[in-house]
Symmetry: C2
Subunit: 229 residues, 2 copies
DNA sequence: CGCGGCTTTGATGTTCATCAAGTAAAGTGG
DNA sequence: CCACTTTACTTGATGAACATCAAAGCCGCG
């Protein structure tokens, strides 16, 4: 699904990355860009697809992941608008290294990659801004991976719940955008044990669970779990 | 230890990142830069140190790591010259997020960060080149982390041995630049089990071990171990 | 309304960390 | 250069953490 009516002048993303573009550059960008709408569950691109577009997430929530040789899914991160700016691989590779799918209805703004590369070459401040943003995005992925790795099962589940509550939704009540299995693939534990741990948290009165809906009741205790686990 | 005699015109790094600099820019770079020599074990910078220099590794081997709140070390990667270009955090942070130490005698070339940032703004191709390089460095870290995460104890140890043999030293006989404990901190397993696994490989005739020296005898079997483990 | 996928829980077994005790190696000061 | 200290390495024994397997319930969707 494609929509070309976006007015780039008012786009929130412009302030973050495209702030250093002049009038004409924005106009060009606006004519070049296209918005793509993805429903929850749809795949934005597969690893191995050839790269021709620079993409960023305007709204929704996406999952970055890859398939292991044995067919299991490794979730690299789940991230929200303005944090996700394509894969970094677009600057070094011909093809995507990782897949991206929408875990909530999402809107992607896509621009011809050549156009962006030309901008990078001509417009120093733009290059600087994009470099910072790519670097920060990567930084977050690496930090999160290390955070998860240093924790045990209980700590990892607590960490992920806090991640959704604090980083993604900014509320103590939210709908999990992913299945239990996807959480398991994210934190590197088995599905059964993720479910078991959620049940334990529920029995201990730390959270309440209604299907996909989670309410964090005792956030202090959850933070302790995340810290010590 | 500081050495300013490097002739930047002939520096191997110039072709990789500074190829787009003109005569004058290289001259300025050459006057600004300083080389720092580190002995095996010395720390190049600590997480939390304020960032004022852009650094890259000219020779040697370095370890990127952080300390967990409980004081354990998490090794993020071990990497060789021209792959390591500062932390990405230099573009987004005031202070280093991770520590870097020399695991072999190493030479760092350091340039005032402001100088690099000015170059980024003025010189499009340079910005592009640096962006690619930072992106590729990060890409490697993330891919390696995922590779390790998908394996069990045996697979991880096999993977690391192959990493040193194929990526770092390009030979089947090499001296481990790190302790068994550092390997354990790298692959996220206990020291005792890393040693046990190395012993098993030795007993099975897959490797030979003389202290820190490793000889890979049956690389095909080691690759199988890495693949299935 | 029935089928398939997701979720849940219990039981079982494997993998791995931890503990302990001993040996080798590498610094350190006299 | 040697005695001493410390740090790294090694191996076995034990228990904890986690995966796997299995069976049943639930839920959405055709």
């Amino acid at each position: 699904m494609i929509d070309r009516t976006c007015i780039c002048e008012n786009c929130e993303f412009r302030n973050l990355v495209f702030s250093s573009l002049n009038e004409e550059e924005v106009k060009n960008l606006c004519e070049k860009k296209e918005e793509q709408v993805f429903r929850k569950g749809e795949i934005i691109h597969h690893e191995g697809d050839s790269i021709s577009l620079f993409k960023y997430l305007k709204s929704g929530l996406v999952k970055l992941y890859r398939k292991t040789p044995s067919g299991e899914e490794q979730v690299i991160t789940i991230t929200k608008p303005f944090e996700f700016v394509s894969n970094m691989s677009i600057f070094t590779e011909e093809r995507y290294v990782y897949s991206v799918s929408a875990v909530e209805d999402s809107v992607i703004c896509a621009v011809d990659l050549k156009f962006i590369k030309d901008l990078l070459l001509k417009n120093g401040p733009f290059a600087m801004g994009l470099l910072s943003r790519v670097a920060r995005g990567n930084e977050k992925i690496i930090a999160q991976t290390l955070d998860i790795r240093q924790r045990n099962l209980v700590g990892r589940v607590a960490y992920i719940l806090l991640y959704f509550a604090n980083e993604i939704y900014n509320t103590r009540v939210f709908d999990l955008p992913v299945s239990r299995k996807e959480i398991a693939d994210f934190i590197g534990m088995s599905t059964a044990n993720v479910i078991r741990t959620l049940s334990d948290f529920r029995k201990d009165g730390i959270i309440r669970v209604f299907g996909k809906t989670i309410e964090i009741v005792d956030i202090a205790r959850l933070e302790t779990m995340s810290r010590i686990g």
